[in-house]
Amino acid sequence: MLKGRAFKFGDSISTDHIVPGRLAHLRSNLPELAKHVLEDADPTFASRVKTGDFIVAGNNFGLGSSREHAPLVIKMAGISAILVKSVARIFFRNAINLGLPVLVCDTDKINDGDELEVDLEQGIISDKTNGNQLTFKKIPKAMLSILDEGGLIPYIKKHGDFKL
């Protein structure tokens, strides 16, 4: 069971909001890069987020670049899952490859600061603040098999090949 607070964002949060190109010189210094996570969407986010918290956003989260640093710094910030109305393709695949769940659900029902519990097995999100229960769209089987191993590199180390 994942537990934490909701940090609410709007639609179209791009990879430039999450980790802009101007910080490319920090990409080989990940702890430093992670201090800037989502800086251009909410400059206070990095200092407020705690281990276990959730990003809750609208449509087309993570659009733009293929930079895996985007889900990577979100994971490093302690985020346990990203809840969205919809997600951009490359970001989705990258997040799963890093063992970071992205769950598609009706995020309008969640408010900023709500206490959430997410049961990945049962597919249920419980909003402890307003009492709502939400379900999320099933993660495709092939991606679940990668997520279950904690990401693509651990998956390949274990299986040596794609066994999807």
């Binding site: 791009s14 430039d16 190109g21 101007r22 293929s66 990577l72 951009a88 393709r89 390949i156 180390k157």
Partner: protein, 417 residues
């Protein structure tokens, strides 16, 4: 059952008949990284315990995003990539060669290839009939090592473009128009497959511009048939033997069909801060622009520079509008010098940058100041994209950019052509 272009290419590479929705493992003909995604790829490759790529010729590293390097951290990343290439026998294109996607088009891609790159604009090679898509560093690290990757075969949207473009209207305007109408997530996970008589007669340069921006509608690939226009282009690159025709079956199944009347498209501009926030250039007259940027994998090809040069010939830039121009590759720079375009640009008051990504992604060579606006021929105008979240980016064709450079405000190029 007939196949779309995506189903055709992926069937061939996975050696089974595949259709939309299937999960497959396919061999890759080319896997590449650039200098801002490559270091993480190398580290993941090593973390996985891999020693060498499956095929060094198919494993390519490009230094293009931060070239020449603007700081010591990125210089050290370049050292890491050069060292990996040397140690593993992979191919490396160093500072000054140009943008990865342009080099792929000129020198590496064959119609029917499957290509993955740790760069979202890898889709560009779809303009030559390759199933080419962007992935992250982990996926590319694994593809380096195993020579293959997994895909979900995408559903396809058939985009049929018909009729002749008006004077002053280009491939860039078609794709901005399309993204404006379907939205930045209008094709998420899907293949945008382009056809119609406008496409049949369009140059490879224009096709690459359209394919390049398929990702800006969320698409996995932007695909064009490989035809005689493709063949001619490959012959011009001294690669005529790499040609094979490829086209979708007439009874292929599409989830959606979009028809575009090319005769009605006007010079189009994306306004800050999303690509689907479009207007006509005419509607934006009066929007003052401090920087014009012509170049990138979207519009840094010779045809693009030719259009800009024809507008800037004998003219001067507006005194309050700086102009920066970066040809997409070394080959294009040489051709532009030969054709006299570079002289035209310099005489018009432009600054010429070396082949590479230049100002596109905000890490050097044209970072915007507070409150400034840029008219760029690139593909993205997200907040902060050009190095400053308090700046404003408009996207347009090279013609719109050149017309704007002269007047200092967003200008419909038909006013000056």
């Amino acid at each position: 059952m007939g196949k779309t272009l995506a189903e055709k290419v992926l069937s061939r590479k996975s050696q089974i008949d595949v259709y939309a929705g299937d999960i497959i493992v396919a061999s890759v003909d080319l896997a590449f990284v650039q200098d801002t995604t490559g270091p993480l790829t190398v580290r993941e490759f090593e973390a996985a315990g891999f020693k060498s790529p499956a095929n060094g010729r198919k494993t390519v590293l490009f230094l293009d995003h931060a070239t020449p390097s603007p700081n010591r951290q990125l210089s050290n990343d370049h050292i890491l990539l050069r060292s990996f290439a040397r140690r593993t026998g992979s191919r490396l294109f160093d500072v000054g060669e140009g943008v990865c996607h342009q080099i792929v088009a000129e020198s590496l891609v064959k119609p029917g290839d499957v290509i993955i790159g740790a760069d979202s604009h890898t889709v560009t090679a779809g303009g030559l009939g390759a199933f080419a898509t962007g992935m992250g560093s982990s996926d590319v690290a694994v593809a380096f090592a195993l020579g293959k990757t997994w895909f979900r075969v995408p559903e396809s949207i058939r985009v049929v473009v018909s009729g002749s473009l008006q004077k002053g209207v280009y491939a860039k305007d078609i794709i901005l128009h399309l993204i404006g109408s379907i939205g930045a997530d209008g094709a998420t996970y899907q293949s945008l497959e382009f056809s119609g008589d406008t496409i049949d007669t369009m140059s490879v340069s224009g096709r690459l511009t359209i394919a390049n921006m398929a990702i800006e509608a969320g698409a996995k690939v932007g695909l064009f048939a490989a035809d005689e226009v493709t063949h001619k282009y490959l012959i011009e690159q001294a690669r005529g033997d790499d040609y094979q025709p490829i086209s979708p079956d007439t009874d292929a199944s599409y989830i959606r069909k979009i028809t575009i009347d090319a005769t009605k498209i006007e010079p189009t501009v994306s306004k800050p801060h999303t690509v689907d926030n479009t207007a006509t250039a005419k509607e934006l007259k009066g929007t003052m622009i401090q920087q014009v940027f012509i170049g990138t994998c979207t519009n840094g090809r010779l045809e693009d520079l030719a259009v800009a040069a024809s507008i800037l010939e004998g003219k001067k830039r507006h005194p309050e509008t700086r102009v920066i121009i970066a040809p997409a590759s070394k080959k294009i720079l040489l051709q532009a010098i030969e054709a006299g375009y570079i002289q035209t640009f310099i005489e018009a008051g432009a600054a010429i940058l070396p082949p590479g990504c230049a100002a596109c992604l905000g890490l050097h060579q044209g970072v915007l100041g507070e409150g400034e606006a840029c008219l760029s021929t690139a593909n993205r105008n997200f907040k902060g994209r050009m190095g400053n979240p308090d700046a404003f980016i408009y996207l347009g064709s090279p013609a719109t950019a050149a017309a704007t450079a002269i007047s200092g405000e967003i200008t419909d190029p038909r006013e000056v052509l």
